[in-house]
């Protein structure tokens, strides 16, 4: 148990240590300051030149958003096309994988374009190597790059004074991929490779087992895909069981690397905010608020997983390893709980244990984590979501001290509150309405066969699926039989709405803030980098999430927990 705990502490410690310099580096990249990776700029300039993009052209929020949407639409169309014709592509399909069915292809293309990576297929049977690389690996870079570049637009909006320019999306997008994601991915991929995660184009391997049976073992070019999957908060596994699979997560060292990779960029972006705006103390407050929630979640989930499943305890066996259903022995219960919280915090969605089989309390925490969707959050978009809570907190906090609310000198007025409210509202809307339709269907048609588990846990499976889709997370209570037209289309659509509206809204807000003049700070202004504001922010975050989802959680994990 103690070594398991040390492992958790080591992962968190290393993450935070590494995130600080990375945040500084990201801020420099966003600002175009000199960095070590400038040797890549000839390559970038060459790419921009052949695309006839002027990287210095300043664009307002609308042009930036149009560029982002057009580019993402192309990604989406490319992906759905390849998935539906992968059988006909002559190369890199040693296992002769067939074409994807249309609704599943729609779901998969939206899922990966939107950085969700919800998988209604199983990697080893559903995708050719061609698709794994030129759809999955590719989208895992560019969808993450889209998120990071969008955040750079927001940062710029916060420092601009009475200007429309938010920067150039194309340039920021390309640099997010080449300067942030690529170098880290290479390092992490090599670590993975050296620890025995396959990187080969060979097909299924036939194995003669010791017992004398013959089994097929799927391999593939795993290490590079898994590296970017973690770093870009993507989470789409190469294999069905994701990072529980020994080829996706070979040992405790790769588990540490992967877990750090999940958290690293989201945490670094919080610090990047501090460096970019030169408001480091404020970044610490944001980090502190997120980390309080994060650590609370980690410690409760780890406690519940380590102390085992009470229902199993009733069977009289010993549970020193903790609740082990759906977990791997090489990671143990504590590290699996940490991973679960990390992956649901950051909208990563990769798993190293089956969330469906975690104890009810942990399952509830994973759900709540995705319902908040702003504890570090997905690369770029996590901070953007968090920023919406900041707007609301600033508004309430400002009123509480008797000043028209302002954030970093920008007045928060009706337009900003409207956008923030709508963006925050969207998440419960998608989750609750989606789950309501599913629950209604499951109630009148119990034979529909969606649910792998009865009762409250079955409800949690549906709730989890929509929460994961709306939060662009991608993990699942995988017992849900989700590869049906209903789930494919519903979740696909939820993912699209849950991805793009919460980007467009905040960037419009950033555009409106950029156009405002800046109000100087006075002793009557709300001091956002104060502990008191941190409390308001934490309150807003927890209260909005808790109040929106408490009844739903009550009928799922809470009811299951108290009925044990």
């Amino acid at each position: 148990m103690n070594t398991e705990l040390f492992g958790v502490v080591a992962i968190l410690f290393l993450t935070f240590i590494l995130a600080w310099p990375l945040g500084k580096y990201i801020s420099k990249v966003f600002k175009g300051e000199k960095v070590w990776s400038d040797f890549l700029s000839p390559l970038e300039n060459w790419v921009l030149r052949i695309c006839s993009i002027d990287p210095n052209e300043s664009m307002d929020w609308k042009r930036n958003m149009k560029a982002m949407l057009r580019l993402n639409l192309i990604f989406f169309l490319w992906s759905i096309l390849i998935l539906m014709i992968q059988k006909y592509i002559p190369i890199w399909n040693p296992a002769n994988i067939g074409n994807m069915e249309a609704t599943l292809a729609y779901n998969t293309a939206t899922s990966f374009t939107s950085n969700t990576n919800l998988q209604h297929y199983s990697g080893e049977t559903g995708l050719s190597y061609f698709s794994q690389l030129l759809v999955i690996c590719f989208l895992q870079f560019v969808s993450a790059g889209t998120g990071i570049a969008t955040l750079a637009l927001l940062f710029k909006g916060l420092v601009q004074k009475q200007a429309a320019d938010l920067g150039n999306f194309y340039h920021l997008f390309l640099k997010s991929c080449t300067r942030i994601l690529l170098p880290l991915s290479i390092v992490v991929a090599i670590i993975f490779l050296l620890n025995g995660m396959p990187t080969t184009f060979a097909g299924l391997q036939e194995v003669q087992t010791l017992e004398g049976d013959t089994v097929q073992v799927a391999t593939g070019p795993v290490a590079p895909v898994i590296a970017i999957k973690q770093l870009g908060t993507n989470g789409g596994g190469f294999f069905g069981p994701n990072c529980a699979h020994p080829f996706e997560n070979a040992n405790y060292l790769t588990n540490i690397s992967a877990n750090i990779s999940i958290l690293l960029i989201p945490v670094a972006l919080v610090f990047a905010f501090g460096f970019y705006l030169n408001r480091k103390k404020l970044a610490w407050i944001f980090f502190g608020v997120m980390t309080i929630v994060f650590l609370t979640f980690v410690s409760s989930a780890a406690t519940f997983e380590s102390s085992g499943n009470p229902e199993i305890a009733k069977l009289g066996i010993s549970q020193p390893p903790g609740s082990m259903e759906g977990k791997e022995v090489r990671f143990g219960a504590a590290a699996s709980a940490l991973w679960g919280v990390s992956t649901t915090s950051t909208s990563n969605g990769s798993v190293n244990s089956m969330h469906d089989s975690q104890t009810p309390f942990s399952g509830g925490i994973f759900l709540l984590d995705m319902m908040i969707n702003a504890v570090y959050g997905g690369v770029g978009v996590g901070f953007i979501n968090f920023f919406m809570f900041v707007v609301i907190a600033v508004f309430i906090g400002g009123l509480m001290i008797g000043r028209t609310p302002e954030f970093l000198g920008k007045k928060i007025e009706a337009r900003e509150v409207k956008i923030a409210s709508l963006v925050i509202l969207l998440h419960p809307f998608l989750i609750l309405v989606g789950t309501a339709i599913a629950a209604f269907t499951a109630a009148i048609e119990p034979a529909i066969g969606w649910l792998n588990n009865p009762s409250y846990h079955g409800f949690s499976e549906m709730l989890y699926e929509f929460t994961s889709a709306s939060a662009n997370n991608g993990s699942g209570f995988e017992g849900l039989a989700d590869n049906t037209p209903f789930w494919n289309i519903a979740c696909g659509t939820v993912m699209l709405l849950g991805r793009y509206l919460p980007i467009i809204g905040p960037i419009a807000l950033a555009g409106s803030l950029a156009a405002k003049k800046s109000v100087p700070f006075s002793s009557g202004s709300l001091k956002v980098d104060s502990l008191a504001f941190g409390v308001v922010l934490l309150g807003v975050l927890v209260v909005i999430a808790a109040l929106s989802f408490f009844p739903a959680l009550t009928l799922g994990p809470i009811a299951e927990f108290f009925s044990m």
Binding site: L399, A436, V519, S523, S525, V535, L547
Partner: protein, 680 residues
């Protein structure tokens, strides 16, 4: 004497009116303005229908009595909210009515173009008409004196009993309808149409009908609407959720949950808070032209204050008399007195006062005799030529130097120059007196800083407001007074355009600037300032340009207005926080009640151990309804603003309204449950 400021919070007449109004306001068209309470009204109607349905024994909707109880409670929730708004309006109206009393129909002596006078009713006056008012007449309508000077009793409006002087062509040329001319005869031009005076506008603002929501109120309404939609979603989706869980939930339970969750407390009190803010401004004798102006006041970063009258008491006063050149003290005092007896300037009067204080017997003996020499821009001296031919002059040192031909060479002159420098560096103004072109001594004039003004500035600094003193004094004197009074900055030797430039400079930095003014030459600056407060005695141009008018002509009123603005926002913010955080306890009351029978495990959430599902739901709804009237006094009086710095204030309010809002409903609902469970 001012009108009683603290009207009792609940007067029986006002309460009666408000109760009636709360029913009138049930009109859905009026309710629509307040989306939060409108949804409660819809909920009430649905519950009414459900009550009838529940008469059927197999409706599954619970007992008839229970449904009726919920219906009534919801109705009361709406009524309480309406009552809050109505009582705020009624109090505003009462306040306005006491002002309006002054403007019943009076006769006006209209001056026709041929010079004849026609007596008409005041309501027939049009803008730009000219009328005559004589001693004993009541001024029929707001206007500006175009000819003459008069003393006027404005007590009906301001509560101040001492008469004031209003004179054409000065910065004090404005007269108000309803006030009374005590002496003299003036010619007045009508500046506003009847029904469009500032007071009329103000009355409209406190009466709900034409009340415009302020930008901040709109933003808050949007946020509250957002919360309402979220909770609508939560409640509506709970139905299929519980269907899946094989739990029958009644419509009454769902609607109760919904009404308890949506921010009814702030939703019900929001407009009352806004109206009460305007009312507080009115109570401070400030007429605001819009609610936004009051709110903006709370945001001020910079306040421009005239030195005279605001920071210092009236004008400079003589504080010391220093005889020189062999003149005796008594003799010097006498000549100072003689030269000032006929001097109408405040400085002159203060010399008389000082002389009377120093040598009372001389004053009695000295007759007002001789030829008074008025101050002119050319000589820059004033004085008197006595019947015996003695010429007494007083003025600035350089003017006296010119008059006496002194060159500062002799010993006495050097001594005087030393004294003059000493006085100036202490913020005083030296006035040199010469008798028959011989320098006789120096009068020290000093600004008297208002007692308590330093504390007020310190308070403003804590609020984050920068104070700027505007004065015609030279920089040295200005600096001294600025330091004494504790202002942050000053504009010395100020010309009217300097104010304007300063405002523009501050606004360029993004600051909100407030100023107070009265003269026509202040008008551009008043218009440019984010909050311009004109004195009621000021010119029409100044009043038009500003967004508030101070009936008391009190230059320190700005400070009060700023606090009223802040109070308004704080009250809104804190009631919002309180309202939303209340939901936590309500969840713990209602959610276990909804499911406890079908999912016994969830009884663990019933941490208040409420008696039964029905009593739990009733208690939560009762608490939710009662908290509105309970907070009406707070809404009307406003949360007290404490200038303790933003972060300290936030911490304090978080503890009171955040933590309080978390704990109080747990206690409240439990207590109500103890009572309700006796009946259910």
């Amino acid at each position: 004497m001012k009108r009683p400021k603290n009207l009792k919070l609940f007067q029986s007449q006002i309460i009666k009116e408000s109760i009636i109004a709360s029913f009138v306001k049930l009109d859905p068209r009026l309710m629509l303005k307040n989306p939060v309470m409108f949804t409660v009204e819809i909920g009430t109607v649905i519950m009414l229908v459900v009550s009838f349905i529940s008469l059927s024994p197999d409706s599954g909707q619970g007992s008839f009595i229970y449904n009726v109880a919920i219906t009534l409670l919801l109705l009361f929730t709406v009524l309480f909210a309406n009552f809050a708004e109505a009582i705020a309006e009624a109090r505003g109206k009462a306040q306005a009515a006491s002002l309006r009393k002054t403007r019943h129909e009076t006769e006006a002596k209209l001056l026709l173009s041929d010079g004849s006078i026609k007596t008409v009713s005041s309501s027939q006056l049009k803008k730009d008409d000219i009328f005559i008012v004589e001693a004993g007449d009541t001024i029929p309508i707001d206007g500006e004196i175009i000819e003459g000077i008069a003393s006027i009793d404005e007590s009906a409006i301001t509560g101040e009993s001492a008469p004031v002087i209003r004179e054409a062509g000065t910065d004090h040329s404005g007269v108000i309808g309803g006030t009374k001319v005590l002496s003299d005869k003036i010619k007045v031009q009508v500046t506003t149409r009847p029904g469009e005076t500032f007071l009329d506008k103000m009355i409209e603002l406190v009466e709900g009908a034409s009340r415009q929501k302020t930008p901040n109120e709109i933003a808050l309404t949007i946020l509250l609407a957002g919360f309402t939609i979220i909770f609508l979603l939560v409640t509506v989706t709970l139905k299929p959720f519980s269907d899946y869980a094989n739990t029958a939930v009644t419509i009454a339970a769902l609607i109760s949950l919904f009404v308890c969750l949506i921010p009814t407390t702030i939703g019900g009190l929001l407009s009352a808070i806004g109206i009460a803010g305007m009312d507080r401004a009115l109570r401070a004798n400030v007429i605001a032209k819009s609610g936004k102006a009051v709110e903006n006041a709370g945001d001020n970063d910079t306040v421009l204050l005239d030195k005279t009258g605001t920071i210092t008491i009236g004008n400079r006063k003589a504080t010391h008399l220093y005889p020189f050149n062999g003149f005796g003290k008594q003799e010097f005092v006498k000549y100072c007195l003689l030269s000032s007896l006929a001097d109408p300037t405040p400085e002159g009067k203060s010399i008389v006062e000082l002389a009377a204080h120093l040598e009372p017997q001389i004053v009695q003996k000295t007759a007002k005799d001789g030829k008074f020499i008025k101050f002119t821009a050319e000589t820059r001296m004033s004085g008197i030529d006595l019947p015996d031919g003695t010429q007494v002059r007083k003025g600035a040192w350089d003017a006296i130097k010119k008059w006496t031909g002194a060159n500062g060479a002799n010993q006495a002159e050097k001594e005087i120059e030393g004294k003059i420098a000493e006085i100036a560096s202490n913020g005083g103004t030296p006035l040199v007196v010469s008798i028959n072109k011989k320098i006789a001594g120096v009068v020290q004039l000093e600004d008297i800083i208002k007692p308590g003004i330093q504390e007020r500035f310190a308070r403003l600094r804590k609020m984050g407001v920068k104070t700027v003193m505007v004065t015609g004094d030279n920089p040295l004197t200005a600096k001294y007074i600025a330091n004494q009074a504790g202002v942050d900055d000053f504009i010395a030797e100020a010309k009217p355009e300097d104010k304007m430039n300063y405002i523009l400079k501050e606004q360029k930095e993004g600051k909100l600037v407030a100023m107070m003014g009265d003269g026509t030459n202040d008008a551009p600056a008043l218009a440019q300032a984010d909050v311009g407060v004109a004195m009621n005695s000021g010119t029409q141009a100044a009043k038009e340009a500003s967004n508030m008018v101070d009936l008391d002509n009190d230059p320190t009123k700005l400070l009060e207005v700023i606090e009223i603005g802040k109070q308004l926002l704080i009250t809104r913010g804190n009631v919002t926080t309180f309202s939303i955080i209340n939901d936590v306890a309500k969840y713990f009351a209602i959610v276990p009640a909804l499911f406890a029978t079908s999912i016994p495990g969830l009884n663990a959430l019933n941490i208040m151990s409420l008696a039964s599902p029905e009593s739990a739901i009733l208690s939560a709804v009762i608490f939710n309804a009662l908290i509105i009237p309970a907070l009406i006094p707070l809404a009307l009086k406003g949360v007290k603003y404490k200038p303790i710095g933003a972060t300290a204030l936030l911490t304090r309010n978080l503890l009171i309204y955040g933590l309080g809002g978390l704990i109080i409903p747990f206690i409240g609902i439990k207590l109500i449950d103890l009572v309700v469970s006796l009946f259910v």
